[in-house]
Amino acid sequence: MVRYIAARTAGAAIVLAAITLFVAFAIRLTGDPAVALFEGAGAPSRQDIERIQHAFGTDRPFVVQYAAFLAHGVRGDLGTSFRSGQPVTAMIADRAGATLLLAVGGMAVALAIAFPLGVYAATHRDALTDFLIRVASLLGLSFPNFWLGIMLILALAVRLRWLPPSGDAGPASLVLPSTTLGIILASTLVRLVRATLLDTLGQPYVRTARAKGLRELRVVVRHGLRNALLPVVTFIGLQFGGLLGGVVVLENVFAWPGLGQLALQAVSYRDYPVVQGVVVVLAVGVVLVNLLVDLSYGLLNPRVRVGP
């Protein structure tokens, strides 16, 4: 186990180096932060742009810039934002909490919807209710997230005035964004729970358990769900990485001060240090979650071995 984790850590370091190199290089192909700084100003002169490039250090060769990033990065210093003048680590720390809250809230809503519905649909396969659950679960997939978000704002915040439309001020303001996120995640999750549960319920050992006269609920929970968890856990792990992509748009709609907005603004102002910092944090998160997912395979299913 220790050797396995050590090997994975080495792999993670390579992944991090590769992705930062790629991101740092690619983002520099897409536009100049010095020009972005002049938004609202009309046109900068060439001297203005050169002066700002010098202040940002973007006039240095790429290799020098990347080496400086690495040298500081290994000491936990991700640089200073072009746009806010703040240390990148502080900016990410400021916003990580809000995004985590939104992600957990969204996942909680999704699980609360998906597990009961998925189990019910699987145990009533091909019945009308199964059909209706499957069709209803597609609704969340039929609207773009920004559109669903705006509709929920109009209905629940503007017309009914039950909830604040946007911002992060207290638990009430978490409801709309996490519900929007939850509905979207649940659509996939309901179907996944149903499908994998059906697979396991069709297994001979489950039939054996039934034949032994175990109560249906006990069969489903002990034998069905336990094995159905594997793909569901994988999915949640996958979603964690993808979640940031999804929250970018939702944080924008709901004016949620999280990493998604930070990332979107950093990209749209070509704030290289922040873009690189967000990617590093995200990559560490993805690598960690996938490591946990791989380890959990072994716990959930003793016959699965992972790793070299």
Partner: protein, 518 residues
């Protein structure tokens, strides 16, 4: 039996969510009391963008100006009427050809209690013109100033390096806002940037990035105390959400209401819609290096084929004013005698035939993808150009790529959108950087006459001579049809009716000193 039932249910279920949500969205509000009442004398403003830095020398963003004009004062002040008047200086005069003397207001203090005096002015401009200012975008505006000299505690001299006909206007600009020397020296620029201190009518209370900034009334303000007790600026990037905040009664003033939502604000009995003409003008530029845009007949044909007036009346719902050159009527140098290019599709076809442009020819119009109004207008142009035989492709481009790569490296289509408001309201600010050969955003176009007129207006302080040079320039550009000016942008503000004394500012600097709430 079961199947039939299932089918019926399904048919009803599919549109159910749309109907339910749509029904709710269209119904009358059921919320009892508006949250607006519970805010008392404090004000909530929703704006699209958080400028991230509150240091005046570090920004060019209108979103900074919206807040900054309430935190800081300059020596000179430009209000919503765009007239220049005394600010922290009570008067000024040229004491020699290159020396401008200011008499300062007495008894003013910064929010932290530090007194305002000549040292503060000198510190502000030393900082702006020195290494700290070099890191920000504002310095370039003030390079005509050589240095500031303290004459006595309430008198300063600005010693000029070069002629600058718009220096007084510039001293009302962001970079010239007076900052507190002691505070910045003790706390450092980074701290100042997130905990700003000025002399303005409101003082800093709290700031959470990407969420909100709160200010409280500065009751000792030199020009009288504000009438609201506090103001919170919330940063809400999505326009539909800003309007929703306004409708829900949780915001008093919303910046940047899109034209497409104007009807929503107008239709709400608790809100008013306030339009104001901005310095920003929208136009289509031609890239003469891309055939057939090098042919003046093609360019003129385009100006005749697009019905700008109808686009303004329909897509912009009248919120836009036609212009004939690339400047607003507010701009010094605008020639009201020039009529906009007439709409005449017959003439357009004829010009295209003369230029040898075959029917069905492909042309491309590039534009930055964040301009929603132009995006709609461009789609109307596709249809209009189709009726004179041109196949127009639209190319929306992410905005930073657009301004830092596509335009400077001449990667646009034959036509591309350009929008600009010269904040000094002097055509020089626009014309020099757009028509002078080899400027960053003018990689292709050059014309000897244009260069001559630009040289003329730059070499003198005599405003009459400058105006004459600008008029000649206007005429030359108009005849060349190197660009196709479309409209002056009108900015829309949504305001709750409980707010009194709000004046929609053309330059987004919302002054709250005389605003009150009921």
């Amino acid at each position: 039996m079961r199947c039939g039932h299932a089918r019926t249910v399904r048919r009803l279920l599919a549109p159910a969510l749309v109907v339910v949500l749509g029904g709710l969205a269209a119904s009358v509000p059921v919320g009892a009391q508006s949250p607006a009442q519970s805010r008392g004398r404090s004000l909530v403003i929703v704006q699209a963008q958080d400028p991230q830095r509150w240091d005046p020398i570090a920004t060019f963003l209108l979103s900074w100006g919206m807040v900054g004009c309430n935190l800081f004062d300059g020596l000179v002040d430009r209000g919503p009427d765009l007239v220049l008047r005394p600010g922290l200086a009570t008067g000024w005069s040229w004491i020699s050809k290159n020396t401008l003397r200011f008499t300062l207001r007495r008894g003013v203090t910064f929010h932290d209690g530090e007194p305002f005096d000549a040292q503060a002015v000198k510190f502000t401009f030393d900082r702006l013109l020195g290494p700290e200012g070099a890191k920000g975008p504002q310095q370039g505006n003030y390079t005509s100033i050589d240095h500031v000299q303290v004459v006595d505690r309430y008198t300063v001299d600005f010693v000029m390096k070069t002629q600058d006909p718009v220096i007084i206007t510039k001293l009302a600009g962001y970079g010239a806002m007076i900052v507190p020397p002691k505070y910045i020296q003790e706390r450092g620029s980074e701290y100042f940037s997130s905990h700003p201190v000025g002399t303005g009518p409101f003082r800093f209370v709290e700031y959470r990035k990407d969420d909100h900034l709160t200010l409280a009334a500065n009751t000792r303000y030199w020009n009288g105390a504000p009438r609201v007790s506090a103001v919170t600026y919330r940063f809400v990037p999505e326009a539909a959400t800003r309007v929703a905040e306004l409708q829900a009664g949780r915001a008093d003033i919303a910046q940047g209401v899109p034209v497409s939502q104007a009807g929503v604000v107008k239709g709400d009995p608790s809100l008013v819609l306030m339009p104001v003409g901005s310095p920003t003008v929208i136009e289509i530029r031609f890239d003469p290096s891309k055939p057939p845009a090098g042919d003046i007949r093609f360019r003129k044909a385009i100006t005749a084929a697009i019905d700008v007036q109808t686009i303004i009346q329909t897509i912009l719902q009248g919120y836009g004013h036609r212009v004939s050159t690339f400047q607003s009527p507010l701009s010094f140098g605008n020639d009201p005698a020039l009529a906009p290019y007439p709409f005449d599709p017959q003439r357009a076809k004829q010009l295209l035939a003369e230029a040898g442009v075959k029917p069905g020819t492909d042309v491309t119009l590039s534009f930055p993808s964040n301009n929603a109004d132009f995006r709609e207008a461009a789609q109307a142009m596709v249809s209009e150009l189709a009726s004179v035989g041109l196949k127009l492709s639209l190319q929306p481009i992410e905005q930073v790529t657009y301004f830092s790569d596509t335009i400077p490296h001449a990667k646009t289509g034959q036509m591309y959108e350009f929008g600009w408001g010269g904040w000094t309201l002097d055509f020089d600010n626009t014309a020099y950087l757009l028509y002078h050969k080899g400027e960053y955003w003018n990689p292709v176009f050059s014309d000897a006459d244009v260069e001559k007129y630009l040289e003329q207006e730059r070499s003198t302080n005599d405003q009459k001579a400058r105006l004459q040079a600008f008029r000649a320039l206007d005429r030359r550009l108009y005849d060349l049809a190197i660009d196709f000016p479309l409209w002056q942008q009108v900015n829309l503000w949504g305001v709750n009716k409980r707010v009194r004394g709000f004046v929609a500012p053309p330059d987004d600097r919302v002054r709250l000193l005389s605003v009150s709430v009921q």
